[in-house]
Symmetry: C2
Subunit: 348 residues, 2 copies
């Protein structure tokens, strides 16, 4: 789509005004705001053209115009003037990430940060373990037939799980089994560990080494269940959305919170954005998920040592200040990537 300069400034000003005020913008207001010394009548003519193009529309005959979904899209793609982050905000954000090396907590903090700074909801796609590499496993005997397994992956994440076993294992057996794992599988992907285990299991148990058998018995279940992806979504600041005037209708909020509970739609959406480099923006119904019809989502992938492993984002009303939210999401993704990398640099 191509617009002449005047139409572009006009549309930009209109969208900016509407984002700030939340009221349909009329020709008089727009003419006054515009520095071009145009009469309201001229502005009306241009607005009429923009309406024909489907970029703006009137809620009713005698109201001003508001951007359509396509209008927002054009605005975001072609007209947006990104505001640089305020120095203070930037420092606050950096503070939040410093002195923290636990990857789990880093993700939590990222999500909180996004919601605090934007006053909308922050969201983080937590990568499943599919792609992470096996680093270390430990078994701790809890009771006669219960073993605590602690799985550590190369990205520094720790996961523990209590596993019921068929028979009782001595502490020494468990140590042997753990050593076996740590030597054989260190550095391979979890999926490969799983494949390896499956292969072992197919062997006749007679010819199996005692230690291998123990390892299999204890950790088999762990990897059985664990490989089903395990991607998860973390949300913060949902309550901020209650304060957003555009969403003040209970039904809209219900739809939204329903989506927050099931999380599937969010997961799909964030996952899609992981495939793309740079910021992804879904405006209103663009995402295709009805529950997000009244919302926009701004997302950016984050990486760990250069490999993209997840996404951070903000969910807010379609009428949000994209010029402010985009840099926040962008910077958060960068800071998070940085924090994750340095935290694992400190791993050896």
């Amino acid at each position: 789509m191509k617009l002449n300069d005047r139409a572009e400034t006009l549309l930009r000003t209109l969208v900016e005004l509407y984002i700030n005020e939340g009221q349909p913008v009329g020709s008089r207001t727009l003419a006054r705001q515009l520095k071009l010394n145009l009469s309201p009548a001229t502005v009306r003519n241009v607005m009429s053209d923009l309406e024909d193009l489907g970029l703006i529309h009137s809620p009713h005959t005698s109201a001003g115009r508001i951007p359509t979904q396509e209008g927002y899209r054009f605005f975001v793609d072609s007209l947006l003037r990104i505001k640089p982050l305020e120095q203070i905000t930037l420092e606050e954000m950096q503070d939040k990430f410093s002195n923290e090396s636990d990857p789990q907590l880093l993700l939590t903090k990222a999500s909180e940060l996004l919601s605090q700074v934007t006053h909308f909801a922050g969201v983080v796609l937590i990568p499943g373990q599919r792609s992470s590499l096996f680093r270390q496993i430990e078994f701790v005997r809890l009771a006669s037939q219960r073993v605590l397994t602690i799985l550590i992956t190369d990205d520094g994440r720790v996961q523990n799980r209590v596993i019921p076993t068929d028979r009782s294992y001595a502490a020494s057996e468990l140590v042997e089994a753990a050593n076996f794992f740590n030597q054989v599988y260190a550095g391979t992907s979890l999926a490969d560990v799983r494949r390896g285990l499956l292969k072992e299991m197919q062997k006749d148990s007679d010819e199996m080494h005692r230690i291998t058998a123990t390892a299999l018995a204890v950790a088999g279940k762990l990897f059985d269940d664990e490989d089903d992806g395990g991607d998860a979504v973390m949300l913060s600041g949902e309550e901020n959305l209650l304060n957003v005037p555009d969403l003040c209708q209970i039904e809209k909020l219900q739809k939204l919170f329903d989506a927050f509970k099931t999380k599937q739609d969010l997961l799909d959406l964030l996952d899609r954005s992981m495939k793309v480099s740079g910021i992804s923006i879904f405006i209103g119904g663009e995402s295709g998920y009805r529950s997000l019809d009244d919302c926009s989502v701004v997302m950016a992938p984050y990486d760990h040592d250069g490999e993209i492993i997840g996404t951070v984002g903000v969910i807010g009303p379609t009428r949000m200040s994209y010029e402010e939210v985009i840099p926040v999401v962008d910077v958060t993704a960068r800071l998070l990537s940085g924090a994750l990398s340095t935290s694992s640099d400190r791993l050896e």
Copy 2:
């Protein structure tokens, strides 16, 4: 407070009607519903008395009556006829708890259960570790100066934490240190462990055994921070409250969700109910926390081997069906207590 039989049945019927319909109850409706063949005029007289006693009131002159906070209180204390749980619901609830022995997950499930069954918000007070006994600690070397500590308490809870250390420790040193801990402190309370550590630290480091020094250096920080209580509140099904007609005003929801975020009020409230045995019910403003003015909270403590360690509850509108919610909370507390005890029976 003493009422004659007729006034009691009348009040009970009024409250039940109002809880079911949500509309102020007029004399005609009440007379019809009542099986006493009273005329509306008589009912009006009785209602007038009840109003003088502060148990009911009219929102305005020509509306019916609705219960006051005191009216609900009297109803709950003296008039309530608890409905036994439906067999199916009971089985569903039992199902939810069976096949789960991880205490953390049990608490999550309890909270979810409460919200699912009642269609309000479920809440669980998660006991801090102050009272739990030390069972076992493990150190895992993550990087040259980072050690993963895994703390297991006697109630089966597992907590892990990455601790930065001043110098690098060899795996063997860590094993020794862990053994030291596990032998010296097994079965003592975490608070005592902390006291023990402090005492050790006061000794001149020269005369300290090498292993003790390692143990101190690695785990000192863990117990430093960890003893600050750590009680926590877990919430589920907040979104259910969006569907409650009595709370459909955005401001009320805002107050409520604000309280959900900070959690302090909830924590205090649940903590109070832990001191009491049996069901606690706070109606409307009774709790004293303004954020819960429009809500009632039904709570019951749960225990682990007879010792009360936490509380489960439901947060809903004041106009809730107490006769249904109370047994749900009660049964959940019992089931949870049972599940926690059997899960630790299986510990040795």
